[in-house]
Symmetry: C2
Subunit: 326 residues, 2 copies
């Protein structure tokens, strides 16, 4: 027998690292599930994204940023729907050689972002790869948020004549990956930071109701994600490459990095269809949030497609449109 | 350039296999998140569990059962809380060599269980291990359910004098794993079935309000999970080994498999603390659900611990108490 006295190692690991992150409804991570009252009269908005070491983050990324990136990637999905975050569940499959210090760092990062974004851990699961020496860390996060009925943003809804707008700047994260892989120099560190720590545009997204006709977050590359807007809205889009906002660090990389900026992933900016009549309201929202917004093109009637043009109006041929995980 | 016309491979994969599983609120898996109105006046109950090939299922398990097992493992968490299931989100990190037919099978199995349990897919994410040849399939599922306020079951609440009860039979799944690994013979196939297809006790769990003082589902082994009840309720438990219900197939394996039954994982039965005064109501629930329930011991005042005894009352020493993922 013996029994319960010594807490099994897995549960001690959870208690040590993850229980401090648990908030209302999580029942101290001591039960089979979390339970909480959803906000009255609101829709629930839920999304889930996974991240794999070596695919979505690098093996030598600081653990503090890995957890924050996963949380922020999911928060960005809520931003694109115009939703307010509430809490999250986290599961992981981890290699046995990833030690205590690494997970302490992961949870430090999560604690920091919980404060920033007003969310808390609701539940999850940890498991270890046994018998597989080369398996990379796999993290999966489910985010739960809420929005007023009728106020959620969709990818459908863009109409011919709407402008195509984007928040912040595009391409920094893809260039940051190049920096971290030694393919590009950036002494400022700005680009690598953008790869490791996306900035989910939650306040901006929540303010877009009544302004935007459709929205998506740019996760797999500007052109590819614009394609989703077109496909769901049944319109065609033109992107003026020179209008796409790039940071000083991205411009310093040089013009041959333009395609990487347009097609690289991990921007987590909002790509928005806005009827002209709402431009003033859009600029007011931008000023209120302190987030730049830039018109980079527009929508027209036609079969769903994305055309990228140079200042002369000529089409720019791209070798790929964005990340695909197949 | 080109643009959206050809749907990127990852999204075609999702559309082909997973969109048919999407239900109300999933927005056809075409948006950044799912959005739905939570049932009025109910608590939300959420849990997440991951499964790793080679740890929670075998590489040659039929894909039809792998998806169903993952869903059922999560449904069992809802059963232990007395909640009613609503929907789920699914993420996966998959080796590149797992083909179309495998995922068609996975989704066939999920479709079958969606009908059985009245749930549907709300969202998720697929990603591929790139550059890692030996990585096993990792699946993670978040289940969302609901319960009446005040009606959820917790692990805390068991009191000295309560009886310790369990649904169904214990040990079949652990023996089924032994069968599938060639360590035990079972021509009936019953044991392997129990390993691959848990039976979440949802109706039983939902009926326990007002009857049970505390509950947990047996996922990591009877003794270990009983330890969680003791720890959360601050009581001690005694399990009478001979009273633990075992199926005909499990008894046929012979007495030397007793420890495997008591400590093996994957039972997904409910372990319940019941005040004596509610025994009749418990039996009535058992009859109504067509699920056997057996008294296997009881709780007493004392430091949290689990004692397993033989018919003479002597303690049985066990070499381990259950699965731990560390």
């Amino acid at each position: 027998m013996t029994g319960a006295d010594p807490l099994p190692a897995e549960f001690a690991f959870i208690a040590r690292h993850f229980r401090p992150l648990a908030g209302p409804g999580a029942l101290d991570l001591a039960d089979d599930a979390a339970a909480f009252a959803p906000p009255h009269g609101r829709l629930l908005v839920v999304a889930a994204d996974a991240m794999v070491q070596g695919v979505h983050f690098l093996a030598d990324d600081p653990p503090e940023t890995v957890g924050r990136k996963l949380l922020r990637v999911n928060l960005s999905d809520l931003a694109a729907m115009g939703a307010v975050p509430l809490g999250y569940l986290l599961t992981m499959a981890r290699p046995r050689d990833l030690g205590e210090a690494w997970f302490a760092g992961l949870c430090d990062g999560l604690a920091c972002d919980q404060d920033t974004f007003g969310v808390h851990l609701l539940g999850g699961d940890t498991t270890v790869f046994s018998g597989v020496s080369a398996a990379p860390l796999v993290l999966s996060l489910t985010i739960i948020g809420h929005a007023a009925p009728g106020a959620i943003l969709r990818r459908r809804g863009a109409q011919a004549g709407d402008g195509l707008w984007v928040t912040g700047s595009i391409g920094d994260a893809a260039l940051g990956l190049a920096v971290l892989q030694g393919r590009l120099a950036d002494p400022s560190g700005v680009l690598a930071d953008r790869y490791r720590l996306p900035q989910p545009r939650l306040a901006f997204g929540a303010g877009l109701h009544g302004i935007a006709a459709a929205a998506i977050d740019v996760s797999d590359g500007l052109v590819q994600d614009c394609g989703h807007l077109c496909r769901q809205s049944d319109v065609t889009a033109t992107i003026e490459a020179e209008a796409v906002p790039r940071s000083a660090a991205a411009l310093a990389a040089g013009p041959h990095w333009l395609e990487t900026c347009l097609t690289g992933g991990d921007d987590y900016e909002l790509l928005i269809a806005v009827p002209e009549v709402n431009n003033a309201a859009l600029h007011a929202l931008s000023a209120r949030c302190g987030i730049a917004v830039t018109r980079i093109g527009g929508f027209a009637a036609g079969a769903p497609a994305v055309r990228v043009i140079d200042p002369s109006g000529a089409a720019i041929m791209l070798s790929r449109t964005g990340w695909s995980h197949l």
